[in-house]
């Protein structure tokens, strides 16, 4: 078995071609992105309609934006994800996190395939600006979305929603769904939309204000009521991890 470990050995080269053998079948390699935003007081995900050319699996079905890695264009997986994100939404700088990978012999009828899934959060303000013609926002119904999705994309979407909801319990991720300037009640509303449950105002404010995350600006949000302080994300605002989840155990 020497020479098979690491990326050292070949697979599927049972007969002959022992050394340096790279002459075995390779899986298809793709990247898919689950892009979230908040629209109309609801969490939305971006889907694209698939083509119906000859040999296209799942013709005309909806799918997550993504596609095959282009070994000429893409330097690495994240670059590939950012390229696809920009192509569909015009957004170039935003929160992007690797979600996981899904690979099997059966997920794509064209053969063994593996996809590297990412999830991205973009502000509502950017959600409509430069949307691709074939892309469309869908509200999340619980953990899934109305249309049937191509491939195993329903499963990937489910994992993304769970990961997002889970992390929102103890991180500042929703801040990346906000516009440039926002109030604390607006940020809290975003948390509540993602978590689908109300949060305590004072605990929320204490947590957000004691984290090194946002700073007040010299401006208020006016309304038919007491104006609210506007904040913005601090310059180098990496996501903040809190030491507790929001709800104490049952």
């Amino acid at each position: 078995m020497v020479g098979r470990q690491g990326q050292g050995g070949g697979a599927g080269n049972k007969a002959g071609a022992r050394r340096a053998g790279l002459d075995f079948p390779r899986p298809l390699t793709s990247v898919d992105i689950v892009i979230f935003t908040i629209r109309l007081e609801a969490l939305h995900v971006l889907l694209v309609r698939r083509g119906h050319g000859e040999g296209e699996p799942f013709p005309d079905a909806f799918a997550l934006p993504g596609g095959f890695v282009d070994v000429a264009k893409d330097d690495d997986l994240e670059a590939c994800a950012r390229r696809k994100l920009a192509e569909k939404t015009g957004v170039i700088s935003t929160y992007l996190e690797q979600l996981g990978s899904w690979g099997s012999a059966h997920r794509d009828p064209r053969g063994w395939s593996a996809t590297h899934a990412y999830f991205a959060l973009i502000p509502a303000s950017a959600a409509e600006a430069a949307l691709a013609a074939d892309a469309q926002w869908f509200p999340l119904a619980g953990i899934s979305v109305k249309p049937n999705l191509a491939f195993d994309h329903a499963e990937i979407l489910q994992a993304a929603v769970q990961r997002l909801r889970n992390k929102v319990e103890y991180t500042s991720l929703p801040a990346y769904l906000m516009p440039e300037e926002f109030t604390l009640p607006e940020l809290q509303r975003t948390y509540e939309i993602v978590l689908d449950r109300p949060l305590e105002k004072s605990a929320f404010r204490t947590r957000m204000l004691s984290a090194d995350l946002i700073e007040p600006i010299d401006k208020m949000r006016k309304g038919p009521n007491r104006p609210a302080q506007l904040y913005r994300l601090k310059a180098a605002a990496a996501p903040v991890y809190f030491a507790r989840t929001f709800n104490a155990p049952e």
Copy 2:
């Protein structure tokens, strides 16, 4: 762009072959596993020595166990990871979690390659039993390991250690590093080894005992002192997530 989204379109097929075109170069696809155990009061990781056949990159270097996906043998990525885990350690059922994927044009001199990384926790008792001839345990020095690793495996290892340490703060993962039967002080010691810092005994015991994780058995661990209650993992013991990390914020 219709017909290019999802896994629908081809990449790299700039010239001709428009529909159903799969005639573009595919990255190499591999799986690597970071296998942890506790030996001699220290966290260890399993490495294998690479071969030095013709065309082998990083000859004789140490690397994470892994290798190319075998589209004939492996039904999916996790099956591939479990197969490699079993080949190197003999362990078939243990904690296995996907860590992430690393893919780029430059990580393997043989071409664009993407690896799907997993991490596994195995009990000390199983760590020596059926070890492959080319595999060897190495203690972790901080976040890395003494030998230089092939490819970007040092980076992958680093990510695995960080993920493990991070999750140990608020999960029951160390339970998977324990033998069949263990005492609470032994479990605490395992936590402390992974986290590399002491924990408070009473807070630790309260947390573990109030989780639905372990159950006492009718047996004690004898020593030159007061005997300790032995416990075992409950039957369907999925990892437990606690609502707080161990250390309150600074």
